[in-house]
Structure formats: C-alpha cells, structure tokens
Subunit: 310 residues, 2 copies
C-alpha cells in the first residue's frame, strides 16, 4: 500500500525521524516521501545519515538552504508545498493516504500562509471540518469540539450535530463499541449537576437506531471513562471537549500519540508532536514512536475504507 | 499518633477493609475505630474475620442487625453517628485527625440525613467549604470548583477567590512547587482560545508575592500538565474543575486514590471509593490500597500541621 509522507518543516526534527524510521516504515507500507532530492541530500549530509537506497521521493517545492532550528519563510513554504502535493497525490489516488510530519506555525506565518496548521488547511481545501481523533491503539479520543474556549462548549452540545458526528466517526473507524462521555461531573448525576447529558443521550439513541446496532454507549461519567478497567472494554471514545479527551491520552500515552483526520475524502494521519527545533540536527535521537503509529493507523484506516483502487 | 477511623456504612465493604488492613495500619498510626463492640462482633462473625486483639474501638451509635449490601435507615444513621463522633474526638484533640470509610448517600437519605456526603456535612459543621484534594502520593489535584455544571465553571474563575484558595492549600500541604492549570485548550493560547487565564495568572502572581516564594507555577497547558515528564517535576496541581483533575488521577491511579479535605480545623482523609454493596460480605477481597493511602496522608498532614498537642 502506497502512502505519501509529507516531510514537514525541514529545519525541524521531521526528516531525521523519516530517515531513521524508514526500515520499519517500509515493512508497514510503501512510503513515498514528498521531498526533492536536493533537499533530501542536504538534510542527509547535515544529519550524517545515509539516504536508504529504496527511499522513494516525489518532488514538491523550491530548494533552499537549511537553517536547523529556525522558523524561516523558506522552510514554511516548503513544508506547505510538501503537504499540498501529498493532498494532490491522495486525491488522484496515486497514494492511499497521507502521513504528515510536523510543520511550524510561525514558519507558515512568515511564508504568508494564513492557515494555523494542517487541520485548518484540510478544512479549507475540502470545504468541511475533519473529525479530530487523537491517541494511540490503546486509546483513541474523537473530539466533538476542540479549539474553542471552554465557556463555549456547553452551548455546542446539541443532539443532531452530535449524532451526525458520531455516525461519520463510525463510518470511518467501524468499531463495535464506542464510548460517549457526558459533559458534566458525574455525567450530570441525573440532571442535578447540569443537563447537557439529555442531548448526548438523544444523540446516542438516534445514532444507534440509524446504525441498527448498539455501537455507542453512554453518556459515560467522564472521570471514570478512562480507568484501566474501562480501557480494557472500550478503546474509542467521543469526547465533548479538547481537554476531556487529551488530558487522558497525554497522561497515559504521550510519546505514542498520533493525530487523525476523519470524515474527509482522503486519509490523513499525523505525528502528535511539533518540530522540536531545539532538538533538530543535534543528534538527540527524537522518538519515532508517534510517526510509526501514525503510519500504522493510516494503513488500518485505508483497509477499513476498502477502496482498493490502487 | 492517634487517628479516628470512622467505619462508614456497615452494610458495605468498609469494615472488611478496616479489619483486613489493621496490621498494616497500626504500623502507621494508632487507630481508634469508631464502632461499638456489638456491631464489630456482628460484622466479624458475618465476615468470618477475627477481631485483632489490639483493635481499639470507641462507641458511637445504636446497634442494629446488619443487612449486607442493603441501603437501610439503620446503616445510614450508624455511619452518620460514627462520623459525627470522629469529628467530635478530633475537635477535642483526642485524635489528630479522621480517616473515613465510605458512607452511602441513599442510606443517609433513608435515615433522614440531608447531607449529600462527608464533605457536605463537614462544610455545615464548620461553616466553611473544605478544599477537596484527590489523588495519591504520585499525583494530587486540588479542585477549585467541583460539583457544579461545567457551564458555570468559567464564571467562577476569579483572581481573588483563586488566590485565597491557593494560599489555604499551601498552608496545608507546604509543597515547594504546585502547578496551576489554565482553563482553556492550550491555556488559551495567549488569549486566542478564551481569556480566563488572565485571572489565573493574576492569582498565581499575587499568591507567590504573599508567600514570598515562587510556589505556584502556571497557568499550565491542561492537556500536557499530567504527562510523565511533568509528573516527575510536580506532584501537586490546582485544577479549575472536577474532571480536569479527576480524569488524570483516575486514568493513572484509580485504585490508589484518596480524598482529602483541607482548610478545616480538623484533618480528614478518606478512601475514594464507595460502599460497593455488591461486594460486601462476599469474600471478594476488596482492595485496601485507597484506605492505607488515606491513613498515610492523614499522618503526613498531621505532621505538617505541627500541632503536637496529643
């Protein structure tokens, strides 16, 4: 299965991770790295890591001189071009999906790119918001709301929108059991501590009816949803807000975590860390765990989609 | 050091835990169990556990016939009397603090006791709210707000009240470093995703000024506050709302967790589990970990208070 790997900001740790993990990655899929040969050679020399013979590349942008650890206009533009090319290859079904290495927001800003990041750009390209799912194979959380102030969350808990979110999620991940968290302490304790759980219950009921099976369970009491005994039974959860899901995944599996965009025409998974400029080109051996997990999940999702066009 | 152990609902698992853990508990403190001899004998016979010779008791209530696993008026009243007696002994400095085993809300209700639980009753007895701190020695979270609907939380984030909370907390736990979480995703990302962090920053600054040392650090990004590398540096955190703290402590240390009431004239720690009626008197070997940790923490807090009156 061919997957595009977009190399992210070349002044950061992404390319080191891609080079070092290649032997493992090629056992999982056929990676196509979206980087020009000249840039690859420059990075390889600076890192003193040989380019593996079977490191297949696809050109994407304008070469520039690396400035390790710096957010530059050129590195921003290049990472954007790599991502844009990955999207194009995926839309044309030349690859089955994209795995993204980290870009830097400041560098994008310097390059005049208005997006806040990959997810923001995907929403614009496809004119729809992706479902953001974060975690690792032991625990995934899909965020019903994410980058909004906490005070705006309760107003967003509305049965119809939540039901649609849940059904899209199910279409993508096809899991038998998905937990759905309540919003309030003790999931509202039968309405004593907040009542948004009524909307959540409605959404669960309607989604299960539509799917003709009891996929979604809840509203779960948020603070006991992620205990070890719960995680043995359920691995996928719908969370009502950013920190409800991410406090758990990051407390438990920080290094392993990945970021997945669901509900889009293309498959996209990503590492869940940044460019780590302070570690770039310093022989610090950045962890490749998140990247390898991102590739594994892209493969799993592609198989689930069962669109064997490539 | 003498500590009162209030036995909780005798139809639940509390007394089994107290009997089974006694040999360990007596190495930590001098426990005084608030239970009448007749009730202790009845429980011991039903459980087929001998009463240890040095199991010192203090009478408190009206004997009744045990009904294992049932929320009854009598069990509710008795657990209330045990707790009330523990409070009285602590106020009179006959004991240095109280460790509470679980009561049952429904049983209290049947007995005509209007309180929702221990904490609610303490607030009434002492005419002040306690600080609720939950966790274990690896990670403690003090909850600035707790049993209120999530939508009411943002309105409560106010610098003066938070500062007072933080200073009271410090007086009790005397920790060198205490993390303070932001409210919003990414701690507001410099005001882009909510601005309650301004109030939190003000409170941190003012509390540190008043204490003349940099005890409080933050506002921390909530979803990375509890990663393993953070927990190596900081073990005590102030959380803005119930699930912000409890999702982390319960995901990581569910069985070990305890509940501590701070800022009251007396010391009180508690197990962080319920009566588990389904397991009571069934030879299910309930975990004693939370109870033992509650005793350890009561001892630590008593030492910190340095009121060596007993």
């Amino acid at each position: 299965m061919k997957l595009a790997v977009t190399v992210g900001d070349l002044n950061g740790i992404g390319i080191e991770i891609a080079l070092k993990a290649h032997d493992q990655i090629k056992k999982l899929c056929h990676p196509l790295y979206i980087i020009d040969q000249s840039m690859l050679q420059q990075a390889s020399q600076r890192l003193r890591i040989d380019i593996p013979e079977d490191f297949e590349t696809y050109p994407c942008g304008e070469s520039f001189t690396l400035q390790p650890g710096k957010a530059t206009k050129e590195s921003g533009r290049y990472s954007y071009d790599s991502f844009l090319t990955g999207i194009a290859l995926s839309r044309q079904s030349i690859v089955r999906g994209i795995v993204t290495l980290p870009i830097n927001k400041e560098a994008w800003n310097k390059a005049g790119i208005a997006y806040k990041g990959h997810t923001d750009m995907l929403a614009d390209v496809f004119s729809q918001d992706a479902i953001m799912m974060i975690g690792c194979e032991h625990l995934f959380v899909a965020l019903f709301t994410h980058h909004i102030p906490l005070k705006k969350v309760p107003g967003k808990i509305e049965a119809k929108a939540l039901q649609a979110f849940m059904q899209t999620l199910y279409q993508e991940i096809k899991e038998e059991k998905i937990g759905v968290l309540g919003l309030n302490p003790h999931a509202g304790d039968n309405g004593v501590i907040g009542d948004e759980e009524k909307e959540i219950s409605k959404a669960i009921h309607a989604a299960n009816e539509a799917l003709m099976q009891e996929v979604f369970v809840g509203p779960l009491v948020p603070d006991t949803a992620f205990t070890s005994s719960m995680r043995e039974k359920i691995r996928y959860f719908v969370c009502m807000y950013h920190d409800q899901g991410l406090i758990a995944t990051k407390a438990l599996y920080f290094e392993e975590g990945i970021n997945v965009s669901l509900g889009l025409p293309i498959i996209r998974t990503s590492v869940d860390h940044g460019t780590a400029y302070d570690k770039a080109y310093h022989d610090k051996n950045p962890s490749t765990l998140s990247y390898i997990n991102a590739v594994k999940e892209a493969v799993r999702l592609a198989i689930k989609r069962k669109k064997f066009r490539i």
